[in-house]
């Protein structure tokens, strides 16, 4: 065996190094030195993230007989995830160091890094076995993370619901895979693609495809595979929720694109375009309809993230490199916007334990900075110019429309109408904070350094990503030169 092929996996190895260092530090360092665990983890991860942007990472390579592939696009999407994870880590410092969590925060970091590793594999896999390993590594430890607030009943309930649904969806996914294997005799993406391009579509393939979509759709919480989302987001500790809603989703969305294009590309217009079409409409609309009614901020963001996932899928259904670029950009912007929102929620929750939307009434008077951060996050999520969210929505619509069929125009129109609905509920939060005259239940307080740092990064992202156009242009160039759509 040629061991040099491990060198293709620079980011995975880097992540493992970070994981091992954190693990060793947590396990073997004396009690006195343990206080700095959070800081060390953030620092290590920041270094690792920075290293990811090194141009030397941008190379095409594969390993393990083509099961694993890396390319500039893969590196970039992993970098985007890394930035998000870094913000999550920074924001979670205070929670992790609270009296209840301090003794087990090591596990939190380790589990988080392991799931991230799984996501890396999902993105880079070009063989379904490796993909399933990644998927499971990214799913199962999350259940433990969801249950992290051991002494809260909701946390248990959420974990149980999560694990049951996750296992069920894995089963469905594997079932779909076995159909695919039966049809084509291989689990390599490229080989399945070839086999499918000769044999015409069959009912079995359609069923297989539906099962595969359901399996990945669970991670993305697409409707109708989304029902776990709200309960889990609400029950899980806020840091875990933000991780779930942003990182896990971003990774799954990209992996989804790779699978649909590289494996089932030949049956795009016959089969999965229409499946996805229906799913996107359902996801955006149902996500919005439920979001309107929510009074709990975490639950509210859960439904908002469902409908956001629908928008992300527009980049997949576009089925061209512009769609891919805009999807990556959307994920990047979504990372910043959603993490800003969760940053505010967790800061307030850590201090007061309040998560109801009514508790936010009049927040501007007591905590103006947090309110402004939250407002920017809501504006960005709703897509109000000049914030980044506007541009990401704009580009993803552009990408989808480039596909050219009238059906897609209709889809974009429906998505546009839904943005109006979403504007309503995002602005509800802003209204509660700024306009409501009620006495605010949240007393003025100063959030911790780590929380402020995380929020500053997120807000900077929201404000500047839209204006600094080179980001999107870079992604566009990268996608244009990538080989993901090359075989078409």
């Amino acid at each position: 065996m040629d061991y040099s092929q491990f060198l293709a996996m620079k980011q995975e190895i880097g992540l493992l190094v970070v994981f091992l260092l954190v693990f060793l530090f947590d396990t073997f360092m004396p009690k006195k030195a343990q206080g700095s665990l959070s800081g060390i983890t953030c620092l290590l991860f920041a270094l690792f993230t920075a290293a990811g942007f090194c141009p030397c990472q941008l190379a095409d390579a594969d390993a393990f007989a083509g099961m694993y592939v890396t390319s500039p696009v893969m590196v970039t999407i992993k970098n985007i995830l890394n930035v998000g994870v870094l913000i999550v880590l920074i924001q979670s410092c205070r929670w992790a160091n609270s009296d209840i969590q301090i003794m087990r925060r090591g596990e939190f970091y380790e589990l988080l890094l392991v799931t991230l590793f799984g996501m890396y594999l999902m993105i880079s896999a070009r063989h379904f076995l490796l993909f399933v390993i990644g998927l499971e590594a990214a799913s199962l430890p999350l259940a433990a993370m969801v249950a992290f607030d051991k002494n809260r009943y909701e946390s248990h309930e959420a974990a149980v619901k999560y694990i049951l649904t996750a296992v069920f969806s894995s089963a469905v996914f594997l079932m779909g895979l076995s159909f695919v294997y039966g049809l084509t005799g291989s689990l390599y993406f490229a080989k399945i693609y070839e086999a499918l391009s000769v044999s015409p579509e069959s009912p079995m393939l359609i069923v297989a495809l539906a099962f595969v979509i359901a399996g990945v759709g669970f991670k993305l919480s697409l409707v109708p595979f989304h029902l776990w989302t709200a309960d889990v987001y609400q029950g899980a500790p806020t840091s875990v929720t933000s991780y779930l809603s942003v990182i896990s989703k971003g990774a799954a969305a990209f992996a989804f694109l790779v699978i649909l294009v590289q494996v089932f590309g030949t049956v795009y217009s016959q089969v999965w375009e229409w499946m996805l079409y229906a799913i996107i409409i359902l996801t955006i609309t149902i996500g919005n309809l439920f979001a309107i009614r929510q009074r709990n901020m975490k639950r509210f963001l859960a439904f908002s993230s469902i409908s956001q996932a629908g928008y992300i899928m527009l980049g997949v259904i576009a089925y061209n490199y512009v769609g891919m670029a805009s999807m990556m950009y959307y994920i990047l912007v979504y990372v910043f916007s959603n993490l800003a929102a969760f940053g505010v929620i967790s800061a307030i929750e850590n201090k007061t334990g309040l998560v109801g939307m009514d508790d936010y009434k009049g927040l501007y008077k007591t905590n103006p900075r947090l309110s402004v951060a939250m407002m920017l996050a809501m504006f960005s999520l709703a897509g109000i110019p000049p914030f980044a969210g506007f541009f990401s929505k704009f580009f993803i619509f552009t990408g989808a429309i480039q596909q050219g069929s009238i059906a897609i125009y209709v889809l974009v129109l429906i998505a546009l109408i839904n943005t109006i609905v979403s504007l309503y509920y995002y602005l509800l939060v802003v209204k509660a904070m700024f306009i409501s005259e009620d006495e605010c239940k949240v007393a003025p307080f100063r959030s911790s350094c780590s929380e402020r740092l995380g929020l500053w990064i997120s807000v900077a992202g929201i404000v500047f990503l839209g204006i600094v156009s080179c980001v999107y242009n870079y992604l566009l160039e990268l996608s244009a030169s990538s080989d993901i759509f090359a075989g078409l």
């Binding site: 069923v207 979509i213 109708p224 029902l227 089969v271 309809l289 009614r293 156009s469």
Partner: protein, 644 residues
């Protein structure tokens, strides 16, 4: 010119704005003022060095072997690329007019920063004031170095916004608030034309770039393919619409109504924005697009006519105003109209386009002496706490520095040799005569009026009859050094600026051109100016009955001019009586009942559906899995049925 310097020229004022805007409240007044002034000072040095390098270094980037100046793109970054052609870039274009504007803007801005330290001392919102000044400087600098018309439009709107903020600086004063709104709405209305013009032009040429358009204007003409719209060629329409934007910003008739009211802002702001820099943006715009305008002489003729009418109108109105800032405002309108006329009459076959050079020259000198006059007016207002000259009189004894500098400003604007205004105005008159004798005579007459109203103002302020200052509790005196120093500097510049060999620096073809003073034209204009000054001396040097007598003799004309020929009333009538009643009310009804009704229906339906399906989220994990499985199977089943 390296990129760092050029970026810094723009970045420094922007950073100052952010710094003062965000952290201003935590600073003392003094700190904020000094920071802002220092920032502007550094920008000034950078801009001067940039302009100096551009004009005098002889670097082959800026001057070719034949001695012609070149346009140099310091940088030009793609900002938004919608399609292959629809690309918006942000960059920094260095050429004679932008280099000159850098000098003008930073000089005046720095003077105003310095002056405001004294003038705005102790005002609430001092930090905010400095933040806005920085924002304005940033926007104006970005406007003049724009590499393409879209970038210019962006900064064009930014200067409009900062002007709005500064006019309404005293936001507790209703008149200031309505003045700022008026300025914003009128210029926005004009910008609508500008935007449509940009869209038409770029639709045909498939570019926004100034360099692409102006270096091969025949391509611009060719690209329209002779398309005609309502009797005019499409290019004429585009250029006239673009000029409409310029009319709004440069307060050309009939879109001038906002500028006199804009005097509600602090006086240094009037000096910076509403005399020296922003209001000449329209002139700059036409100058920037000049080669394209040359392709359509009709458009240039419209520019000339609008300019000439405005010049005369504003000069007449200025003779009857009482508020010294209003007089200066109308004088500004009239002088900008001079520049417009100069551009309008410029043709390449007349003295190598002398009008273009004259226009830019006048822009430069006017910026200096008009800023001087405004800052002088600020000092006067500061001293007597009134804008009306009726509260002044005999001030020469109390405020010698202000008096001398103001007199220099008046002489400069009147066009007396050797002050700056003489040289630039002379070139404008030459260009006008060469084009058409009518314009020459017309503009000479306006120049005479200019001398008259300026000296009327001068005598009323510094001579006439002295009111009882003691009675008001304090005797006026000269301002502190932060205010008088800018006056002295600007006065010195106003004396010598005329000797700058402008023809060698700024011409439309960027070839060096030697200025010849045409003494026939110059002699006439000086004679007219001196006569006008003499008349003003007779009428206003000492208190007498003559002005009142004349006013009652020509009562109709005087009243009309005093009321600015009822332009505001006309606008009020059109907007309130016609547009509001005939258009706005029906639309409002439609909006309230039909559009809102539809939206309310959507909202109700959405809410109902949302309520109806809430049961789906039961909290029961068995149901979740059921829905999951059924969903998957349903999708598969539907797909199978539909597709196989």
């Amino acid at each position: 010119m390296d990129q760092i310097t050029s970026i810094l020229i723009l970045a420094l004022p922007l950073c100052m704005f952010l710094l003062l805007g965000i952290f201003g409240n935590k600073m003392s007044h003094k700190m904020a003022g000094i920071l802002g002034t220092l920032g502007m000072g550094v920008t000034l040095i950078l801009a001067y060095s940039t302009a100096f390098t551009y004009f005098f270094s002889g670097n082959e980037l800026f001057v070719d072997a034949a001695g012609n100046r070149l346009q140099h793109l310091v940088f030009d970054q793609t900002w938004l690329a919608f399609t292959q052609h629809l690309v918006i870039k942000l960059g920094f274009l260095l050429d004679p007019i932008s280099a000159m504007m850098l000098v003008v803007i930073t000089t005046i801005s720095f003077m105003v920063h310095l002056y405001s330290l004294g003038y705005m001392h102790g005002e609430t919102g001092f930090q905010r004031y400095y933040a806005f000044l920085s924002l304005f400087s940033f926007s104006m600098l970005g406007l003049v170095v724009a590499t393409n018309i879209f970038q210019m439009y962006i900064f064009w709107e930014l200067v409009g916004a900062s002007s709005y903020l500064l006019i309404g600086f005293y936001y507790t004063k209703p008149s200031a608030v309505s003045a700022s709104k008026k300025a914003f709405i009128v210029t926005r209305f004009a910008d609508l034309g500008f935007l449509i013009g940009i869209l038409i032009l770029s639709f045909y040429t498939e570019t926004f770039d100034f360099m692409t358009m102006t270096n091969a204007p025949e391509n611009v003409l060719a690209s329209t393919g002779g398309a005609v719209f309502m009797g005019g060629s499409v290019l004429t329409w585009a250029l006239v619409l673009i000029f409409m934007g310029g009319m709004g910003k440069s307060a050309m008739m009939p879109l001038h109504i906002w500028l006199p009211d804009a005097m509600e802002g602090p006086t240094p702001v009037s000096a910076l924005i509403h005399a020296a820099t922003m209001v000449v943006a329209g002139v700059f715009l036409v100058a920037r697009m000049f080669p394209v305008y040359l392709m359509e002489v009709t458009a240039l003729e419209i520019v000339t006519v609008v300019g000439a009418l405005t010049a005369l109108y504003a000069a007449i109105v200025a003779c009857t105003q009482v508020d010294i800032k209003r007089v200066l405002a109308f004088s500004t309108i009239s002088q900008i109209a001079f520049m417009m006329v100069a551009l309008g009459v410029a043709r390449p076959d007349i003295h190598e386009g002398v009008g273009y050079m004259a226009s830019m020259f006048h822009l430069f000198t006017h910026a200096m002496f008009k800023a001087l006059l405004f800052l002088g007016a600020g000092a006067l207002i500061h001293a007597v706490h009134s804008n009306d000259y009726t509260a002044m009189g005999g001030l020469r004894k109390y405020m010698p520095v202000t008096h001398i500098t103001f007199l220099i400003g008046c002489l400069a604007i009147a066009g007396i040799w050797p002050f700056a205004g003489f040289f630039s105005k002379d070139e404008i008159l030459v260009a006008a005569f060469e084009n058409n004798a009518l314009w020459g005579v017309w503009m000479t007459a306006v120049a005479g009026l200019t001398s008259f109203y300026m000296f009327r103002l001068y005598y009323r302020i510094f001579w006439w009859n002295e009111p009882d200052y003691e009675h008001h509790g304090h005797v006026p005196h000269d301002a502190p050094w932060t205010m008088t120093l800018p006056l002295i500097i600007l006065a010195a510049v106003s004396v010598v600026a005329g000797f700058i060999p402008f023809g060698e620096l700024v011409t439309w073809s960027r070839e060096a051109y030697e200025i010849h003073i045409n003494w026939t034209v110059a002699g006439t204009s000086i004679a007219v100016a001196v006569a006008a000054i003499a008349l003003a001396t007779v009428m206003y040097r000492k208190e007498n009955e003559l002005p009142d007598k004349l006013a009652s003799r020509f009562k109709g004309l005087w009243t009309a001019a005093h009321h600015r020929f009822y332009f505001d009333e006309l606008y009020m009538f059109i907007t309130h009586k016609i547009i509001f009643n005939l258009i706005s009310r029906p639309i409002a009804w439609f909006d309230r009942h039909i559009i809102d009704g539809t939206m309310d229906m959507f909202a109700t339906v959405t809410n109902k559906v949302s309520y109806a399906i809430r049961g789906l989220q039961s909290g029961n994990v068995q149901t979740y899995v059921w829905v999951y499985l059924l969903g998957t199977l349903l999708i598969a089943a539907v797909a199978v049925i539909c597709l196989v």
